[in-house]
């Protein structure tokens, strides 16, 4: 099962390599990884999307916590969370195809961020449930270039259990 881990780390040289080395060295999966500084000086935030059974996920979390430069690890899969990722996709868009692509973009609230003579670049933002169908729909026009951030996630303020 896919898990999204939210990790706070000391922002110092080699910290990314420690985290990534842990995954490769112990045979864990990384589906995607995101890292950027936070508002707090010297602290970075990582979002790792990984997969494995319960025992593996437990090991991943414990092993991450064991790293000296890791401050906090939260498994967002265990709670209600907001997930977003961004995709930039360049699609061949000649003649009548152009109008159809723009309609799809409109339906899914994507932005056109660049236009060429025979191609369009769209920005798609959303969770997996949105990104996947758009990409499937766009594939038949011919995708020329594709860049994807992987998800960033945050715990929702109101958790289901609080509401019951």
């Amino acid at each position: 099962m896919r898990h999204i881990l939210s990790i706070l780390v000391e922002n110092e040289p080699g910290v990314l390599s420690r985290v990534v080395g842990l995954f490769s060295g112990r045979g864990f999966n990384i589906e995607s990884l995101n890292v950027a500084p936070t508002l707090e000086e010297n602290v970075s935030h990582m979002t790792i999307s990984t997969s494995g059974d319960d025992r593996i996920i437990e090991q991943i979390i414990k092993q991450l916590r064991k790293l000296i430069t890791v401050i906090k690890v939260v498994d967002l899969t265990e709670m209600e969370s907001v997930d977003r990722e961004m995709v930039l996709v360049k699609i061949s868009a000649e003649g009548t195809k152009r109008a159809e692509i723009l309609r799809i973009a409109d339906i899914f609230r994507c932005k056109v961020v660049d236009v060429g003579m025979s191609e369009l670049t769209l920005e798609i933002t959303g969770d997996r449930g949105k990104v996947r169908p758009i990409i499937t729909l766009l594939q038949r026009f011919g995708i020329k270039e594709f860049a994807r951030t992987g998800p960033v996630s945050m715990r929702r303020s109101m958790q289901l259990e609080d509401l019951v």
């Binding site: 780390v9 060295g25 437990e58 414990k62 000296i68």
Partner: protein
């Protein structure tokens, strides 16, 4: 007052209470060596290979309980330490390894003797540092020692660029330390401890299973109390040997691939397993699906990652072994005298004694050849168990584990996790530095000893009276044993046709050399060797194809032992 980086390093070592540094100089650390003679409190032991420096610091740490320190140069000096560091990491030994580095302006330029040692050792250190500013140096050293010895101990590398060693700054060694991302937990959850008491009260066939964590936490006394007070039998991993007296009636011997029949059968039949400071390594568990299948398992360990890593447990307790055992003792105080524990466990103990009697540790004795197991027994008898034993890796290591009775913790120094051949001699040197008056014996094989034989020069030059007993069978014996048993006797590359004359070699190094070829020479010549003041190599020609038994084949259950 302004101090150079080199001076700050050496001052800080003194502040950490370091008295010995095992090292080897080179261009990148020459500034440190230039200052070293001024620090009389620091004894530098010059080894002959950087791997030896780290193993010696490791042996020093294991024997003394202090943090071991080594100092090497950049590039090859640093890469040569990797096996030593990985050895310490696998066995959780506290070390701080200082490596030289090229000047910061040259880092990344493929400079002469440059290696990215921080990158290389990331996966085999507890933590590592590259110091790029002399102002960070004192704090980094403080953190390095703190990380090495606290929590689950381990090796820490501190990489020191040459210009940082030359740069000057105001020196103040930090008094305190606080790291928001590193706060090891020592105290157990008391609710979990109550569960252990309940399980102990109900259990009919309890077993204590001790690991290296008991040594690291200095919890041998508490463990011994628990076993004796409740009449619970004890087994241990290789790393746990010595935490419970090997001559106590409750002692079953080591468990696992080459464990005793009684210990392995006890593991298979126990209804309660109290694991203290062990990590359920594959050499201990055998086939996981049938491991301790009748037992409720209590797992006490300071490192949360070891819990549920290999084995599902009923009561996980993340805590320091000593603190947890003291809490358990406290918790037991009410029930201690309400129950006759000896009576409650009587039939279980009888059963175990039955297994011990039907399948004692033994070996074939026919023929005139000296049996390697017999050599280890004689070392025990001659020393009365009052010795520090180091081992190499292979058959010599297993016989040393099986046939010497360890009476106290920190008396067996062996590479359990990584299984590093060539560990024993430098580790013995480190232990001898820590305990100059103790008998320190390296039980070696003719293969392993050659992996760090150059350290004979270290032993001789410092007059360290280590005794190296080579069980010389002319083979890489453990691999040969596997080839014999599982690979149709295809002895590919395990026959050592051209070993040196170890007696002549000892003499060439300036040490004493003794060869033992006959049964009747064994005791008198070993005795003579142990009484000889300086380092001695004892080359014992043993039965060439002796095997280590019992043996649980890889992947089999503990109860499926091959016996003598």
């Amino acid at each position: 007052m302004l101090l150079t980086g080199a001076q700050i390093l050496l001052e800080s070592l003194c502040r950490e209470g370091v008295d010995t540094v095992f090292g080897f100089p080179g261009g990148a650390v020459i500034d440190i060596y230039d200052e070293l003679p001024r620090y009389e409190k620091l004894r530098h032991v010059l080894v002959r290979h950087e791997q030896g420096a780290v193993h010696a610091a490791d042996g020093y740490a294991r024997a003394s309980g202090k943090v071991g320190v080594s100092l090497v140069t950049s590039g090859p000096g640093a890469t040569n330490t990797v096996t030593g560091i990985a050895t310490a990491y696998m066995d959780s030994i506290p070390l701080v390894v200082f490596t030289g580095q090229v000047p910061t302006s040259l880092i990344g330029n493929d400079a002469f003797q440059e290696a990215d040692i921080v990158g290389i050792t990331r996966s085999c250190t507890k933590h590592n540092y590259l110091v790029t500013d002399v102002k960070d140096l004192a704090r980094t050293i403080k953190q390095a020692f703190y990380i090495a010895r606290t929590g689950r101990p381990g090796p820490v590398v501190v990489d020191l660029p040459k210009d940082v060693m030359q740069a000057k700054t105001r020196y103040a060694y930090p008094e305190t330390i606080s790291m928001r991302s590193y706060n090891p937990n020592y105290t157990p959850n008391l609710k979990q401890m109550h569960k252990v008491v309940d399980l102990l009260k109900k259990a009919k066939k309890p077993l204590i299973f001790a690991g290296g964590g008991v040594v690291l936490a200095n919890a041998s006394e508490e463990l011994t109390w628990l076993a004796r007070a409740l009449s619970v039998p004890v087994t241990s991993t290789l790393m746990g040997l010595g935490v419970f007296p090997g001559n106590d009636p409750l002692w079953l011997g080591m468990v696992g691939m080459h464990g005793t029949y009684a210990a392995n059968m006890a593991m298979d039949s126990a209804d309660l397993l109290i694991s203290v400071g062990a990590r359920f390594d594959d050499r201990v568990t055998g086939k996981l699906s049938s491991f301790a299948k009748q037992a409720k398992i209590v797992h006490i360990d300071i490192d949360p990652t070891t819990i549920r890593k290999n084995v599902s447990v009923n009561v996980p307790i993340v805590a320091d072994c000593k603190t947890a055992l003291l809490a358990l003792r406290e918790d037991l105080s009410e029930d201690l005298h309400k129950t006759s524990w000896e009576e409650k466990h009587g039939s279980w103990l009888d059963k175990l004694r039955g297994w011990e009697e039907s399948h004692p540790m033994s070996y074939p004795t026919e023929g005139d050849s000296i049996k390697p197991q017999q050599v280890v027994e004689k070392i025990y008898e001659i020393s009365g168990g009052d010795a520090i034993i180091s081992t190499e890796v292979g058959q010599n290591q297993m016989w040393a584990a099986q046939f010497f009775r360890y009476l106290r913790p920190r008396t067996l120094l062996t590479s359990g996790g990584l299984g590093t051949m060539g560990y024993g001699l430098p580790a013995a040197i480190g232990a001898q530095v820590a305990f100059p008056d103790k008998l320190v014996v390296d039980i070696a094989g003719d293969g392993s000893i050659q992996m760090n034989i150059q350290e004979m020069a270290t032993a001789v030059s410092y007059g360290l009276p280590v005794k190296i007993v080579i069980l010389n069978n002319g083979y890489l014996g453990m691999v040969r044993q596997w080839q014999e048993l599982f690979y149709s006797r295809n002895y590919c590359s395990t026959c050592l046709h051209t070993s040196p004359d170890f007696v002549a070699l000892a003499k060439a190094y300036g040490a004493e050399g003794i060869r033992i070829q006959k049964q009747e020479e064994l005791v008198p010549l070993l005795t003579r060797a142990f009484k000889t003041p300086g380092p001695v190599i004892v080359d014992v020609v043993v039965e060439p194809e002796a095997n280590v038994y019992p043996m649980v084949p890889a992947g089999a259950s503990l109860s499926e032992m091959l016996l003598v």
